[in-house]
């Protein structure tokens, strides 16, 4: 069969879409949004149950719904969308055909089958084992089988992406190094392959155990290997959404990295220093030494944290420089004030960045500190942390990306533009507040994954302080605001994709390899490229506003860090 070489060029952005890549990106994104829809309904049910004043679901349904919510959101929504992001960063940004489209479709089919199988297993009612499915608590074999099929599909997607890079290079569709955003996507892809390998190492034996072929799964071994899968998958998200931040900064502002060297090195640090991320999930476990715990959570210098702190500066810094070069050069913050706050592509991305850093980043380091973990482990602080990272950070970044993709990829005008303007604020701020009050309640010891913190009818129950109930109430209200923001997102995207006004002017045409070749860049003296950013900024700082914000972040980080040590020091002595 001849290779499909049909391409179209988007008239507004100039991006080039290969026909198969175009379809694959669409279908993966759609499958992601469907998972988000299911997960979102479940999110509302979970929130309404954990709101002590409402306490909606009975216990068995609560645990079932919580299991399905975790899987549909954290695995299916995010990974479907990530595969779409990989194909976008590969085939679209490199203006080339996607490699092995039939393999890509096979991968997609496996992912869909896996996701459905897993959901069916959970909704049958005998697999309410939570997202983590800690052995020796067992689920129906279909639960593990669904996850394994999904992972195999995602792995195929990763290799299709890597193959696409090879195609782009051999057909000469770009010159020089990969774009920074694609480089970030490669990072995500490499971490994904490690993640899926870890998943296979733990899920395949667990599947065999569930059908009786393996006699025993050690609980500590399970947790150690499972988290190499469970946490590394969150690093895929980080790498992916940081890439999207750079992409949006480039799309909205034409921003380029302050220096390619720093941003790329920071991505590289993710690959080198995040992999044994299972360690910080095991800080409260027996059988592992403190040396092991301390070294493996930090590698002696927290270089992965450093990488995120670098991206946290360079992404807004790139925006600041782009804005200053456009003339918004007055004072510290004119560039930020004059940013397009009504454009959901930008506002969503910026809330994602700030929320990820301040709420998700800081809380993550607290939990990952060996001793501080004692006052946080398995409290509702933990979901507070990861709702800030994976929902405010990843999901909101993906949402803002969709607002860009609807006209460009789906060729439809955005419906309800007025609602779209507000959606990132509703969702982002609702979810930030949700995460914050979860952390507050967690500090008071409220457990996660718990149906009834009132211990009704239990003579030995514990009475949580009134503040904990207040926080759980505010958490639930914020959760509802976020759910409303989520509904708005689904309304806008699904409405636009099916009923939005069609945008014409971008038809597929066959393009030969020769026609697809990128023209070589105009020769440029090296000296011109290595000069700085001209006369913008204050006092030799090209991005003084961003630097000020970074210092605010640092002060918050340092204060909160030592507040937690202070709290820890009041506990009963332990050794």
């Amino acid at each position: 069969m001849a290779i499909n070489r049909n391409f179209r060029t988007c008239p507004t952005t100039g991006l080039v879409f290969h026909e198969q890549a175009d379809r694959l990106i669409r279908w993966n994104a759609v499958a992601g949004v469907v998972s988000l829809l299911v997960g979102g309904v479940l999110a509302l049910l979970v929130t309404l149950t954990r709101w002590p004043a409402v306490h909606l679901l009975p216990a068995d349904w609560f645990y079932l719904v919580l299991t399905a919510h975790g899987l549909d959101m954290l695995v299916f929504w995010i990974i479907f969308f990530e595969i779409a992001v990989l194909y976008f960063c590969g085939a679209v940004l490199l203006r080339c055909r996607i490699a092995a489209p039939r393999w890509a479709w096979l991968g997609f089919a496996l992912m869909v089958i896996g996701a459905v199988t897993n959901n069916v297993a959970v909704f049958r009612g005998d697999s309410s084992v939570m997202f983590t499915s800690y052995a020796p608590m067992g689920a129906h074999p279909a639960f593990y089988l669904g996850l394994i099929l999904f992972a195999v599909g995602a792995l195929i997607g990763c290799f299709v992406f890597l193959g696409t890079l090879v195609v782009a290079r051999s057909e000469g569709t770009f010159h020089g190094s990969l774009p920074l955003v694609t480089f970030g996507a490669v990072t995500a892809c490499i971490i994904a392959i490690f993640t899926i390998a870890s998943g296979a190492i733990i899920l395949i034996p667990t599947f065999l155990w569930s059908i009786g072929l393996v006699s025993h799964i050690d609980s500590l071994m399970y947790r150690t290997v499972w988290w190499a899968f469970g946490h590394s998958s969150q690093q895929i998200n980080v790498a992916a959404h940081v890439s999207i931040w750079y992409a949006i900064a480039a799309i909205v502002f034409g921003a380029k990295a302050l220096s390619e060297r720093v941003s790329r090195t920071a991505f590289l640090l993710y690959i080198c220093f995040l992999q044994l991320a299972s360690a910080h999930h095991l800080l409260a476990d027996p059988g592992l030494t403190s040396n092991w715990k301390i070294f493996n959570t930090s590698y002696a210098m927290y270089l992965a944290v450093l990488a995120s702190m670098v991206h946290g500066l360079t992404v807004p810094g790139a925006i600041e420089v782009a804005q200053r070069e456009k003339g918004y050069n007055r004072g510290l913050f004119e560039w930020l004030r004059k940013a397009p706050w009504g454009n959901p592509v930008f506002s969503g991305m910026f809330i994602s960045l700030v929320g990820f850093g301040f709420l998700g980043g800081i809380s993550g380091v607290m939990m990952g500190t060996e001793q501080l973990n004692l006052i946080i482990h398995n409290t509702i602080y933990v979901p507070g942390h990861f709702h800030a990272t994976v929902v405010v950070g990843t999901t909101l970044a993906f949402m803002s990306m969709t607002y860009f993709l609807i006209p460009v990829l789906f060729r439809r005008e955005l419906m309800f533009p007025g609602l779209a303007r507000w959606q990132p604020y509703l969702f982002g701020l609702g979810m930030s507040s949700f995460a914050l009050f979860m952390m507050g309640a967690g500090t008071l010891g409220v457990p996660r994954r718990h149906w009834d913190i009132t211990f009704a009818g239990n003579p030995l129950g514990y009475e949580f302080p009134g503040t904990a109930y207040l926080m759980m109430g505010i958490m639930a209200l914020s959760g509802i605001v976020a759910v409303v923001g989520g509904i708005a997102y689904l309304l806008i995207t699904v409405g636009s994709v099916f009923f939005g006004k069609r945008i014409g002017g971008s038809e597929f045409k066959a393009l030969s390899v020769r026609e697809g070749r990128a023209s070589p860049p105009a020769p440029q003296p090296v000296a011109a490229a290595i000069t700085g950013h001209g006369s913008i900024g204050i006092g030799g700082f090209v991005a003084p506003g961003t630097f000020t914000l970074a210092l605010v972040f640092l002060v918050a980080f340092v204060l909160y860090y030592f507040v937690n040590w202070k709290y820890l020091s009041t506990l009963w002595p332990l050794s």
Partner: protein, 181 residues
């Protein structure tokens, strides 16, 4: 050229660092080192460190050791289930069983005295969560974790389970009494 296009020049790594980036990287790196050194520092100068002492065990063996303590030091029973309340001598080894969906037995400790608290699960994972102190430790089946602790304030504390352990997870709660001598 923006971040979604290849870098304009092939020698992008020769572009010098902006002052803003260099400064921030230095500050952030120092902070990362501080955070690392806090952990070993606390092992030397801090008083709250989770014990590294753990042994492999079996439910039968652990049950038997716990039973011996219960037989020797039970002072009363509580609730309809007649859960024994154990008051072991100061400084001794105290055993606590985690099982679906109960902590067993109940403990009564003396203020200011140090105990070696053994934790193990008989079945699935459980989470030892002492409230309102807010000390949280994972409890595994097959592993006996020995935590040395010193209750500093008399009162009635709760132990709840904070690792999901099935349908009645939320009913798994017990007490720990700390009494003055």
């Amino acid at each position: 050229m923006s971040a979604i296009q290849p870098p304009a020049v092939r020698v992008w790594w020769k572009q010098p660092l902006d002052r803003v980036e260099g400064t921030w990287i230095a500050i952030a790196f120092v902070w990362c080192l501080v955070m690392f050194f806090m952990m070993p520092y606390w092992h030397v100068y801090g008083k709250q460190n989770l014990s590294n002492e753990a042994y492999r065990t079996t439910p039968e063996r652990y049950q038997q050791k716990t039973q011996e303590i219960v037989d020797r030091y039970t002072v009363r029973t509580e609730t309809d289930l007649k859960v024994p309340v154990v008051h072991p001598p100061a400084g001794s080894d105290v055993y606590l069983i985690a099982r679906l969906w109960q902590w067993w037995p109940m403990l009564e400790l003396e203020e200011g005295k140090t105990y070696r608290l053994h934790l193990a699960s008989m079945d699935w994972l459980h989470g030892f969560s002492l409230q309102p102190e807010n000390i949280n430790v994972e409890v595994h089946p097959g592993y006996e974790h020995v935590v040395t602790l010193t209750p500093t304030r008399a009162g009635t504390y709760s132990i709840i389970c904070n690792e999901y352990c099935g349908i009645n997870h939320h009913t798994m709660a017990s007490r720990l009494y700390v009494v003055k001598r």
